[in-house]
Symmetry: none
């Protein structure tokens, strides 16, 4: 049987926008891996009346209810009491939970307050969940045909307890598993991808195929449900192959999350090094590749030649070209790529010059005009891009294009 | 009158735990500033039946319903249709929305697909919200005694539309005005700030004073409610002054959102230029300052000398020092700062070298060790930082320190 779950996060600080609800994200991810569908996430404040109503609604639409927050010792923490009432449970004093709680305070040399003892009263018949990172224990119980799990709110306590106690509890309820793969795409927008795969997205049910957008890119997730990982993989394989067949070489990876990581892995596996000369992207390419732990195996460094004269003085770009054609042209991009490759002694050099706006330069190049050049193996390539008017998007797209050029060159595809 | 709102976020990717619901956090924060209480946040998947039920529930418990997601052109996007049915609205073809959409595609040289036209059908009688960062317009309408706002899902589109169109729409529903100021702090943690201001945070009601954490920094928001901006400003003025008095020079700005912008404005107003030599931060400083439109007035450029030998060959760092002391020491940071300042011909030079991890270098410097140096007016300053073990946090904190050093130097405060 397939269960559906609802996560109820209790905390006024979430409703005030003081914190983002990472607990719900992390629990959802774990439930998805267990093949448990989450149909709703609800956030409610530290208010017993509204929490009670939210629990009543959840009872009517979910098999599993997981609460986060409201188990601590302060006066705001009313989740346990509300759930106990909603499910007509009694509580008992859990001596083991008391021992763990006293031990926790003893280790830290902190005094136990009276209301800490409230925490060790648990619903009769529950499975207690030890809190290995804090004081409030959680628990799970079955009542009215529903499974209820109570977890603490602080993210580290919540996620750890879910991993250590929640998942084993839930696994014992289910016999199917879920696996998924992400298909990453560059160079085709979400609506075009939708057009090419419309029938598959609508008709497939196991595995499912769904599109997502992230950071100006689009990716697809294939998700299968089965008795084992092997069965799931067998279900997904032909779907991934069909997506590849329809979309062609705009698919840059399955499960490698970013273009920079895809390019990085290709360079690292071939023992190639990279350097980059950046103008309008102002160090974003360097920042993105050095986000990857171990980047130093590939990336030797880069020059951010933001002022026009530094393109000549630091990279050897021809001053006459800068004077006559301006800094935003293919000649300058190519000379930046070659110059940085030589100066940093790398195998591949990238040069990016363009107008990220809001203002244009004295040569009148339009905002969004970007040239991305690559120097490699004695050859040069250059893309001329027209990227709209949003500064952040222009910079991101320029950098994505540079990594895409590297990835296409190293996999034998056309680059420009 | 005081309204209460519910946010309904539509997106299977949130229920799968693929993304965290920052939209709900950001909208909640903005509503809180408007004095609108959020009692529930709900997340539902791309499923019209379940969305419809969620909308019915929200109609019964909120005055204002704000949806995010489900306005795009792909087959998953069903929010608009579902809301139109739930509120018995008709749609019309919005010619202005079509013009904006066509313009968007024309600027990017991309083809318009048939399903993009779906987006420009809007509910009759609505206030259309232009999407300045994407293609799907949003809107607001009043029906069945409720106010409904539809916003797109991608965070940048959602937050921008809420700021540009949603807030003015909601403000028009109320007769009192709300204004706020943000007090930005660097160099004092949230719990220390809390200790120093505890009584104010607890006792003040108009204006209120609340702490927020963002990107490793802490800031305070002062929010006043009144009949006019002038009245609000008068209420906030003494509170801001008292916060400044208690916290001292760790307050780096009121309303200038980032350290880099604070440093940028100080340099620009004094006609000073900057260049930066980065190792472990890998271009992050350059990226952060060039995020600012108009950065070229100050930032001449930088060198990302990631490989050790490039510190000598490009910046003139002493090879003997690199060989004997290793690349992570104050001498190297200072020589990087001086070298980059000379080579880029700037007034101020910054040098950053450190270990962002996960691995250490052959000299055994601990992960999290970072030296940040500044060369200016013939003087050098260097901070030796110990920044924990999280790669991203180390890189961010190093860059924050560099901008803080510039800001402190230019305002006559102690730098190291």
């Amino acid at each position: 049987m397939s269960y559906c779950a609802e996560i109820i996060s209790v905390g006024t600080e979430i409703l005030l926008g003081n914190i983002v609800n990472t607990d719900a994200r992390d629990i959802s991810q774990m439930l998805s891996e267990l093949g448990i569908n989450v149909y709703y996430q609800t956030v409610v404040g530290d208010n017993p009346e509204r929490l009670k109503k939210a629990v009543e609604i959840a009872k009517g639409r979910a098999d599993i209810i997981i609460t986060t927050g409201g188990l601590g010792p302060t006066c705001d923490d009313l989740t346990k009491q509300t759930l106990i009432e909603a499910f007509n449970k009694e509580t008992y004093f859990d001596a083991e939970a008391e021992r763990i709680m006293l031990d926790y305070f003893k280790k830290r040399g902190k005094p136990v307050t009276e209301n800490n003892y409230q925490q060790v009263y648990l619903p009769v018949g529950c499975v207690p969940f030890e809190n290995t990172c804090g004081t409030a224990p959680g628990c799970a119980f079955e009542a009215d045909g529903k499974y209820v799990l109570m977890l603490p709110g602080p993210p580290r306590e919540c996620v750890t307890m879910m991993k250590v106690s929640g998942i084993p509890y839930l696994k014992s309820l289910s016999d199917s598993e879920i696996y998924s793969h992400n298909i990453h795409i560059f160079g085709l927008g979400e609506s075009n991808v939708g057009d090419k795969l419309y029938d598959m997205m609508m008709e497939l049910s196991n595995p499912t195929l769904a599109p997502y957008a992230k950071d100006g890119e689009c990716y697809l997730r294939v998700t299968a449900k089965g008795k084992s990982q092997e069965e799931c993989e067998k279900l997904m394989e032909p779907v991934i192959a069909e997506v590849r067949r329809r979309l062609g070489d705009v698919v840059y990876s399955v499960d490698v999350e970013t273009l920079e990581e895809t390019a990085f892995l290709l360079m690292r596996d071939r023992g190639l090094t990279l350097s980059a000369a950046e103008s309008c992207t102002g160090g974003l390419l360097a920042k993105r590749i050095t986000d990857i732990p171990g980047a130093s195996a590939v990336f030797r460094g880069g020059a951010v030649t933001y002022a026009t004269d530094t393109k000549a003085s630091l990279l050897g770009v021809d001053s006459q070209v800068l004077k006559n054609e301006g800094p935003v042209c293919s000649t300058v991009a190519v000379q930046m790529a070659e110059g940085v490759r030589q100066r940093f002694g790398s195998d591949i050099g990238v040069g990016i010059t363009g107008i990220a706006g809001p203002d244009t330069d004295e040569f009148g190049a339009a905002v969004g005009t970007v040239f991305v050049a690559m120097s490699v193996d004695g050859k040069v390539f250059c893309r001329h891009l027209t990227l709209g008017s949003d500064r952040e998007r222009i910079r991101t797209a320029a950098v994505h294009n540079a990594f895409d050029m590297i990835r296409r060159y190293l996999t034998g595809l056309e680059v420009e």
